[in-house]
């Protein structure tokens, strides 16, 4: 694909049974970021996600089995590494993330010299709100991870992120497949590797499809699992990024 700017941007979109939304999301990304390549990682969908994404003009990688978000994203980072992309941007296929804000992520990356920029829902823009155990869990995660990454983070479970070359190399080697691994643990991994993490306020939309999980019991389970994931991630030693292809 011809690319006028020196920076090659790849939008990575993990999708599992999102045939209703993935096409529209891809088209929207193409409109908002015409220079970026778009890779949809079809995470073992049983519906027509793959076809919908192809029709919308995205490159599609089909995983033969459902690996979960972590597996789909590591596939995306390996793709970015192998095809020489400088920036990888995670965008959800369900339309929750506004592709118009990709520019903000990239600008923040340049301005602050960051390796990872998180699009935060709680940093001022928009009116995204949660309550109860889920809110406590998010508070706890923000507090601990802000300390670990030595910067103020308000939304550590956001899946809207931009990663620079160093982060791509690191995540191609080690992107956790555990529950919350794709958000919480990956930040710990990045901080341990000495990467610079920053955030920028973004507005989120209601999901075009699927439903958010706001039920209290599930939220309490989420809190417990968040604590466990944090404790284990923090006790782990640092990992080295891929320096030569083929060693992973």
């Amino acid at each position: 694909m011809p690319n006028p700017s020196p920076r090659r941007v790849l939008v990575v979109m993990p999708a599992w049974n999102e045939e209703q939304t993935v096409g529209a999301t891809v088209l929207e990304v193409r409109r908002c970021a015409p220079d970026a390549s778009i890779l949809v990682v079809n995470d073992g969908s049983t519906d027509r996600t793959s076809e919908a994404a192809r029709q919308a003009g995205a490159m599609v990688v089909d995983l033969p089995i459902n690996l979960g978000v972590g597996g789909a994203l590591r596939t995306g980072y390996r793709f970015a590494l192998r095809h020489g992309h400088d920036v990888a941007i995670q965008v959800d296929a369900d339309g929750q993330h506004d592709p118009a804000q990709i520019g903000r992520l990239l600008a923040t990356m340049d301005d602050e010299g960051a390796d990872i920029v998180i699009g935060s829902r709680f940093a001022g823009a928009g009116d995204y709100e949660v309550h109860g155990p889920r809110q406590w869990a998010m508070k706890l995660l923000s507090t601990v991870l802000s300390r670990v990454t030595r910067t103020r983070l308000t939304d550590t479970t956001s899946g809207f992120k931009a990663c620079g070359p160093a982060a791509i190399a690191l995540f191609a080697a080690d992107y956790p497949a555990e529950y919350l691994g794709d958000t919480v643990e990956s930040l710990v991994v990045a901080a341990r590797a000495g990467l610079r993490v920053r955030q920028v306020a973004v507005t989120m939309r209601e999901r075009a499809g699927g439903r958010p999980s706001h039920r209290p019991f599930r939220a309490a389970v989420f809190l417990g699992r968040a604590i466990l994931a944090l404790l284990i991630a923090l006790s782990r030693p640092a990992t080295a990024p891929i320096t030569h292809e083929g060693t992973a």
Binding site: V41, N42, T46, S50, M59, V60, V61, D62, L63, P64, I65, L67, G71, R74, T75, R78, F79, R82, A177, A248
Partner: protein
């Protein structure tokens, strides 16, 4: 005494079963090792029942059979944990292979597209 014979017979059956499984490569040695050691331990205990009494007195357990049960319980627990570890390793391996496979398939599809439809390779397999 017949109780000991019974125990011995059971142990022999287990050992033979393990041997057959390994012979047919249905089980690898690294998993059989624990069970072989365990079966041999039962044989030793069956032949020398006084050993259990002596061991129980040594560690301060009043009824020897309770010591046997406790040890058996711990060993089974360890085996279960070992299996969980192995399954986790397998899952990680499967994950890596699945990722590689999908990336390679992407390369192949694009290679075929780029080099033109010389043969009908592009229409062979579509994902589910």
């Amino acid at each position: 005494m017949s109780g000991y014979v019974f125990a011995l017979a059971l142990t022999v059956i287990v050992l033979v079963m393990l041997f057959l499984l390994m012979r047919r490569r249905r089980m690898r040695e690294k998993y059989a090792a624990v069970w072989i050691v365990l079966a041999l331990a039962v044989v030793v205990l069956g032949v020398f029942p006084r050993l259990a009494v002596w061991l129980a007195a040594l560690v301060g357990v009043e009824t020897p059979v309770n010591l046997v049960f406790a040890v058996a319980f711990v060993v089974l627990l360890l085996v279960c944990i070992q299996l969980s570890v192995e399954v986790s390793g397998l899952e990680e391996e499967t994950r890596t292979i699945a990722e590689e496979l999908s990336l390679l398939r992407f390369e192949v599809e694009h290679h075929v597209e780029a080099s033109g439809p010389t043969r009908e390779a592009s229409s062979s397999s579509d994902p589910a």
